[in-house]
């Protein structure tokens, strides 16, 4: 007799919370609450606004990677009515609905509830989906089935109010063995199952994570008995709740608490919390074991005509479970997209085989389980009927890509486009791709690692590459990522290539590997070997083109718009901007080196003059990008530099002479001024060194220069006395008025700004506070349009202060 299969239980107060969200939807529609206020309500409910205005993504929690066939069917049916033509499988083993309209959000959430599902905690600073390796319960190498723990911890945590109000998102994962297929060692909280003295238990990791600043988790317990899972998780949650940095969301994850406190203090605090938790005598988690049994539904067995294809498919996608006679099957879904109708067909097919037949893999594919061997032909027939190209080498659909710049504000490159381009390329290769079936290719559109490029055998993350006076989409190439208990290592950068060359690099790397398969049984071993790294590094170099790039290189995959960074949102994507800056600094250093060589060895004076001009030019241009300026000509670069650096006091006025010479074309006049030219370069390097990720210049002495500083001296001592911390001291005068427009949505914040400006006299200064996001992106620009001057804008905690001078 098979035990009833229980997934996570919805919290009792969910209905109240849905009602509250419904009221907020209505209030938002009536204009009673602002965009920001509404956002704060809906994001922790797993509802994100998409780039297409007024459409939402709903992310559905699937604890322990479980989705029952009837739940999948309901999700796909909801999607058909309220969302896109497909459902989306995520790398956190969830299912997302896309393009849901505002009016449909509540109906969708209510419908999901009827099958025991909820998007609560799908976003925001909450307990996110708790993962378990997708083959938990059926894998031969596991200590025991970990999915009941992921499910039980979900049930408990989602009933605790503090789970919805954490400093930042918070992620848990369970692995069944040291292979760490649940990625426990790169999670905020990770559990790896092990048996000690016949007792079930876990090794516990804390404070790992990827993102732009990745960090491996540290071990806090070598072994805890399974009855301790809740106490340990609760203690870690309390630690995070109390110590996470709520002010700066870019440094808020648990790994930043570890970084700040240091490992010793971090652990001390953790164990203090654990002691306190023990005093509470919480009941342990209610674990209900899950039976994995191949149920014979007694339906007719299909016959397969093409035996050869069937056998090939079995080799590629089918595996026997640790339960003899029971089989699991991988269903590839390119980039996690499954058409609604196909999802319904799959659910209907699986229903007779029982509730415990489906999981979501973290590589965004389905895993079907508990199929009796004799019914494998039925699975094959079903796939043939509904899933196009289901029998290709697995690597083709296993590539992981983040959402990319088409939907993500922070994105630089169109990563899904690159993944699809790789797929197209790999579909037409002349070597045995199945020989590289273990390969893991991960693509992120920016440094933030949503595509998990740090754990890829080959990982890519998007960047901007400057070619002459133009920019092209490009990727940094990493190799050698590995996830395994005690051996986890992040991939290392080996090169960079243009976005257009990504598919060729993947193809060529796989081909090179297949030729060396005898030496390296797995692609992972190959990409971690000296030889593999060297091969891939060499490949990157073969694509490197410095001049005369074909037109197509200026376009990213899947778009007909020429590549530009101008429209990218601010925030974490600023890493792309740092790339641009470093490129110009490289030009400066190269020119300086050549100048010194000429001086030592003698050489052409004209050449020296030209190089000096280069230093002046690149020094002028290097930091313009930090002010969102993209000069289209040399003269424009000088103009911007004057306006934003010289006139603001960030660079001494006396350097203007150098610009004038460079503008005049008589570069020989620079030869006598070499020391001044180099001093300018040094100044720019210094400014870059003290620039923070929000583009403020944190000069020695603790003050922050965000903009004009007529009164602020160039030297540390002068500026230390002149400026405190606030922006207003960086400008000539104090604000005549300070207004707080936090919580005021667009365009009312601009309306109110105009009204305040109307009250002031010309040249008076107004300081306003704005929310992050649309307000800071729009209001300063609109104020400039009106002819006023935006003197400075600076991020303070979660909001911005902006200084405006009335004209």
């Amino acid at each position: 007799m098979i035990k009833p299969f229980k997934t996570y239980q919805l919290p009792d107060n969910l209905e109240d919370e849905i009602n509250a969200l419904e009221q907020n939807v209505e209030r938002f529609k009536r204009g009673e609450i602002s965009l920001v206020e509404f956002k704060v309500q809906r994001v922790p409910f797993g509802c994100y606004e998409q780039r297409k205005k007024d459409t939402y993504m709903v992310r559905i929690r699937c604890a322990g990677s479980v989705v029952k066939p009837q739940q999948l069917k309901k999700i796909a049916e909801i999607s058909k009515v309220h969302a896109a033509s497909y459902i989306h499988l995520t790398t956190r083993q969830e299912i997302q609905l896309h393009y849901v309209l505002l009016d449909s959000l509540i109906p969708v959430i209510r419908e999901l509830k009827t099958v025991g599902l909820s998007p609560r905690g799908g976003g925001g600073n909450t307990i996110r989906n708790i993962m378990a390796q997708e083959d938990a319960g059926i894998a031969a190498d596991e200590a025991f089935d970990v999915s009941p723990y992921a499910i039980a911890l979900t049930t408990r945590f989602t009933s605790e109010p503090d789970s919805w109000n954490l400093p930042r998102k918070y992620k848990h994962a369970f692995s069944g063995s040291a292979e760490d297929r649940g990625y426990a060692s790169i999670h905020d909280v990770g559990f790896i199952a092990k048996i000690k003295d016949g007792q079930k238990g876990f090794k516990v990791y804390l404070a790992g994570g990827l993102g732009a600043k990745p960090q491996l988790a540290i071990v806090v317990h070598d072994f805890i008995p399974e009855s301790e899972v809740y106490n340990v998780a609760k203690a870690a949650k309390n630690l995070f709740y109390k110590n996470g940095n709520r002010k700066n969301k870019h440094a808020a994850r648990l790994r930043f608490v570890l970084k700040k406190l240091g490992e010793v203090e971090f652990k001390r605090k953790y164990f203090e919390e654990l002691e306190a938790v023990h005093k509470e005598h919480y009941p342990p988690l209610e674990i209900s074991e899950i039976d994995n049994v191949a149920v014979d539904p007694g339906i007719p067995v299909d016959t397969v005509a093409d035996r050869k294809d069937f056998e090939l498919w079995k080799k590629r996608f089918v595996q026997e479970q640790k339960q003899k006679g029971a089989f699991c099957v991988i269903l590839p879904a390119h980039l996690g997209h499954v058409d609604n109708d196909n999802a319904i067909a799959l659910a209907d097919f699986l229903a007779p085989f029982g509730e415990n037949t489906l999981r979501i893999r973290k590589d965004q594919n389905f895993l079907v389980r508990n199929i009796p061997e004799k019914y494998l032909p039925n699975v094959y027939t079903m796939l043939k009927a509904h899933f196009e190209n289901f029998n290709q080498p697995f690597i083709i659909d296993k590539i992981i890509a983040c959402a990319g710049a088409s939907t993500c504000q922070l994105g630089i490159c169109l990563s899904p486009g690159a993944a699809t381009a790789i797929k197209r390329t790999l579909e037409h290769v002349d070597f045995d791709l199945d020989a590289a079936s273990d390969a893991r290719i991960n693509i992120s559109g920016c440094p933030n690692s949503c595509g998990q490029h740090h754990v890829g055998h080959i990982g890519f993350y998007g960047k901007v590459s400057r070619k002459g006076d133009k920019v092209i989409p490009a990727y940094n190439v990493m190799t050698g990522g590995k996830v395994k208990d005690g051996e986890t290592e992040l991939a290392q950068q080996v090169g960079e290539i243009a976005s257009k060359d990504v598919p060729n690099l993947v193809r060529d790397a796989l081909k090179t590997y297949v030729g060396k398969k005898a030496k390296y049984p797995t692609f992972e071993e190959y990409t971690r070997s000296e030889e593999g790294r060297a091969d891939i590094k060499a490949l990157c170099a073969t694509y490197k083109k410095d001049s005369d790039l074909a037109q197509e290189y200026y376009f990213d995959w899947g778009t007909d718009k020429i590549f530009s960074v101008a429209e990218r949102g601010k925030g974490e994507c600023s890493a792309g901007i740092f790339d641009l800056i470093e490129s110009d600094l490289g030009h400066i250093q190269k020119a300086q080196k050549l100048i010194e060589e000429i001086e030592t060895n003698g050489g052409d004076a004209g050449q020296k003059a030209g190089l000096l001009k280069d230093v002046v030019f690149y020094s002028s241009r290097v930091l313009l990008v930090s002010r969102a300026l993209e000069p289209k000509s040399v003269q424009e670069a000088y103009n911007y530099f004057r306006e934003h650096f010289i006139n603001t006091g960030l660079v001494e006025k006396s350097f203007d002479d150098l610009l004038k010479i460079a503008e005049s074309g008589d570069f020989n006049a620079l030869i006598d001024k070499k020391d001044r030219v180099f001093a300018l370069a040094t100044r720019m390097q210094l400014l870059y060194d003290v620039m923070d990720p929000s583009f403020n210049f944190q000069l020695p002495g603790g003050e922050v220069i965000t903009a004009p500083a007529d009164k602020v001296g160039m030297t540390a001592s002068a500026s230390a006395t002149a400026a405190k911390t606030a922006v207003q001291d960086a400008v000539a005068g104090k604000p005549a008025a300070v207004k707080d427009f936090r919580g005021v949505g667009c365009p009312m914040n601009f309306v109110k700004t105009k009204i305040e400006l109307a009250k002031l006299k010309p040249h008076d200064i107004l300081e306003i506070y704005l929310d992050d996001g649309a307000p800071i992106e729009n209001v300063p620009g609109s104020v400039r349009e009106e002819g006023h001057k935006v003197l400075a804008q600076k991020k303070v905690g979660d909001h911005w202060t902006v200084l405006i001078q009335k004209q």
């Binding site: 204009g31 365009p747 009312m748 601009f750 309306v751 109110k752 105009k754 009204i755 109307a758 609109s782 349009e785 009106e786 002819g787």
Partner: protein, 270 residues
């Protein structure tokens, strides 16, 4: 005049406009506009001016709503048939924007009352939404005498014409002199009118009014805008102040208001 929070939101799309801004909106809200004729032209003009927050709107019309009006006089609804037009229009305006003060004059404009009506609230701007030539010339003459700016408008079939008069510039009579004879212009019952034309012209008149109140933009002074909606062809004709104009010329022959003879058309164009 300070705007309250609700007004800031209501008029935010105006305030955002660089050329309107808070100062312009305040001028609109202090503005007093008289609309003569609550019909095809007056209806859209009144709706947009009310929406814009014009402080005082005067409505002049002696007629009641007729079923034939509803094809183009969008401020009146089916249940209003039989109701005085000025009352029907006032009800809609107040529903849309309770900030507006509506003054109604349920009378036919004549030589003996038009000056009193214009002076009643010392209106800043007048919209001619009348349907007949005697009234159009009367409105013109009264505005010239009282030195009041106004917007002339006329529609027929698929055609519309409009111009804006401000003291010192060309007036309606500078261009057209005297009333056409009855035979020269087809009667409305023969000609008909496409309902949407009324909206096109009435909203142009509303836009002229708002520009005048804000004090910015280029008014249709010394220019006659003519359009044909069937070909969707718009053009403006430059016109000049006529030194021989019978009402505003050097030696005016019209020195007082009189009710001229020419029957309004049967179709109740108001």
């Amino acid at each position: 005049m300070d705007l309250n929070e609700q007004q800031l939101e209501r008029y935010s799309r105006h305030i955002i406009l660089k050329d309107v801004s808070i100062e312009g909106q305040q001028k609109i809200m202090a503005g007093k506009v008289l609309i003569i004729g609550a019909g095809g032209l007056g209806a859209p003009a009144a709706l947009y001016l009310a929406a814009a927050g014009v402080g005082t709107i005067g409505l002049v019309d002696d007629d009641v709503v007729d079923l034939t009006n509803l094809q183009r006089q969008v401020i009146h609804f089916t249940p209003d048939v039989g109701k005085p037009k000025v009352i029907s229009a006032k009800e809609k305006i107040l529903q849309m924007n309770p900030d507006v003060q509506v003054v109604t004059y349920q009378e036919l404009v004549m030589a003996n009352n038009i000056e009193r009506i214009i002076k009643d609230r010392d209106y800043d701007f007048i919209i001619d939404g009348t349907d007949n030539f005697p009234a159009k010339f009367l409105v013109n003459d009264a505005c010239v005498f009282l030195k009041k700016p106004y917007s002339h408008g006329g529609i027929l079939r698929f055609d519309g014409q409009t111009m804006t008069y401000t003291p010192g510039n060309a007036c309606y009579r500078c261009i057209f002199g005297f009333m056409p004879s009855l035979n020269a212009v087809p009667s409305c019952s023969q000609a008909g009118v496409l309902g949407a034309i009324a909206g096109m012209l009435g909203t142009i008149q509303a836009a002229e009014t708002l520009k005048y109140l804000v004090g910015k933009g280029e008014l249709l002074t010394n220019r006659l805008l003519i359009f044909n909606a069937w070909n969707m062809d718009f053009r403006t004709v430059k016109v000049k102040k006529n030194p021989d104009c019978p009402v505003c010329g050097k030696k005016p022959t019209i020195t007082k208001l009189v009710d001229e003879e020419q029957k309004a058309c049967d179709l109740k164009e108001n």
